[in-house]
């Protein structure tokens, strides 16, 4: 994963997000049940789906790292999880804002959807201290990959368990019964979803470019200080893509 096509991707991201938000505020009809506050869902739901997909993708990259031993997959896994945790913060905050507007409370503890997402989010928050607690870089990468696979497998299981639970408070955006979304709302949702997805990919690619350049700078420094006077090998905590 390199920075190729980053400019085009960034432009596409901005265009999709602008189009999506324009549709949300200027075109899509008001929800008969929830009114104006339903418009938060066009942001909150795509963020949640993309974050959860990112966690699963982090697990897949962890598996590829364990299988191949290639440090690039470990770096991918780290960046996928990192960006998804950031999106997770946005999911929790926008969800809490909607909950306050709709229910009058910022948080409801007996709602499985909310609590399960919080559990997944907190689980991934432990990824950082877990990873950084291990000094040896190879062991760090291996253990982090195992964590990413285990937690990544937990995400869809958790989603299905919550979906099957009898929840009466949290709305279902893609209801299989009672009609689901009308076409205009579905189109708006899809544009927002693509925009948020592109944003995730853009941020991942940008982070990967940073990691690659950082790895190259470290490599240059090591080559310049071959006697070990100024190397920064032990001081690095986040994985970088090593220069070959």
């Amino acid at each position: 994963m390199t920075g190729r096509g980053l400019k085009t991707l960034s432009i596409a991201t901005v265009l999709f997000l602008m189009a999506g938000f324009a549709l949300v505020f200027l075109w899509v009809p008001m929800d008969a049940d929830q009114g104006f506050k339903q418009k938060i869902f066009y942001l909150h739901v795509p963020l949640a789906i993309v974050a959860l997909m990112g966690f699963v993708a982090g697990g897949i990259e962890g598996y590829r790292h364990l299988k191949s031993g290639d440090s690039r997959h470990d770096a991918n896994s780290y960046v996928f999880i990192h960006i998804s945790v950031t999106f997770g913060v946005a999911v929790l905050v926008t969800g809490a804002i909607w909950a306050k507007a709709s229910w009058g409370y910022w948080w409801v503890w007996d709602e499985p959807t909310l609590v399960s997402f919080l559990i997944v989010f907190l689980l991934y928050c432990t990824y950082y201290p877990f990873r950084y607690a291990i000094e040896d870089r190879d062991r760090q990468a291996r253990y982090a990959s195992v964590f990413a696979i285990t937690a990544g497998a937990f995400v869809p299981l958790n989603f299905l368990a919550v979906r099957m639970a009898e929840s009466v408070i949290h709305p279902r955006v893609f209801a299989t019964s009672e009609g689901g979304l009308p076409d205009s709302m579905l189109l708006t949702f899809l544009v927002c979803f693509v925009g948020i997805g592109l944003l995730w990919i853009t941020l991942v690619k940008t982070e990967m470019v940073g990691k690659k350049v950082s790895g190259q700078v470290s490599y240059l420094r090591r080559r310049l200080h071959e006697d070990g006077a100024g190397g920064s090998v032990g001081g690095r905590i986040a994985p970088t893509v090593e220069a070959k």
Binding site: F21, L26, M30, K39, I40, V89, V93, L220, R221
Partner: protein, 86 residues
């Protein structure tokens, strides 16, 4: 359509979108700062390399000439220059 009469829900909706936009901007600013740091580190390394080159100019020139000769295009004899008939 957009609700022309501002209500409590309007404030919540806009605050959610505003939070998201601010978060993205802050993240981009952090990434920008990170790239600036990398750029500064790279500049320092180049300066260091230049300083080391200045200390040992002879060694550097010998190294450079080896590198230049390593390129097959440079080791080949130049084509004979055609004499001008004028």
């Amino acid at each position: 359509m957009f609700d022309a009469t501002p209500s409590e829900a309007t404030g919540y909706v806009f605050s959610a979108y505003l939070f998201f936009l601010l978060m993205v901007l802050v993240y981009i600013a952090i990434l920008g700062a990170k790239f600036q740091r990398i750029n500064r580190e790279l500049g320092e390394l180049i300066e260091q390399l230049k300083a080391e080159d200045a200390e040992e100019p002879g060694a550097d020139l010998a190294e450079m000439s080896v590198e230049v000769r390593a390129d097959p295009a440079d080791t080949a004899d130049p084509p004979p220059r055609e004499e001008s008939s004028v």
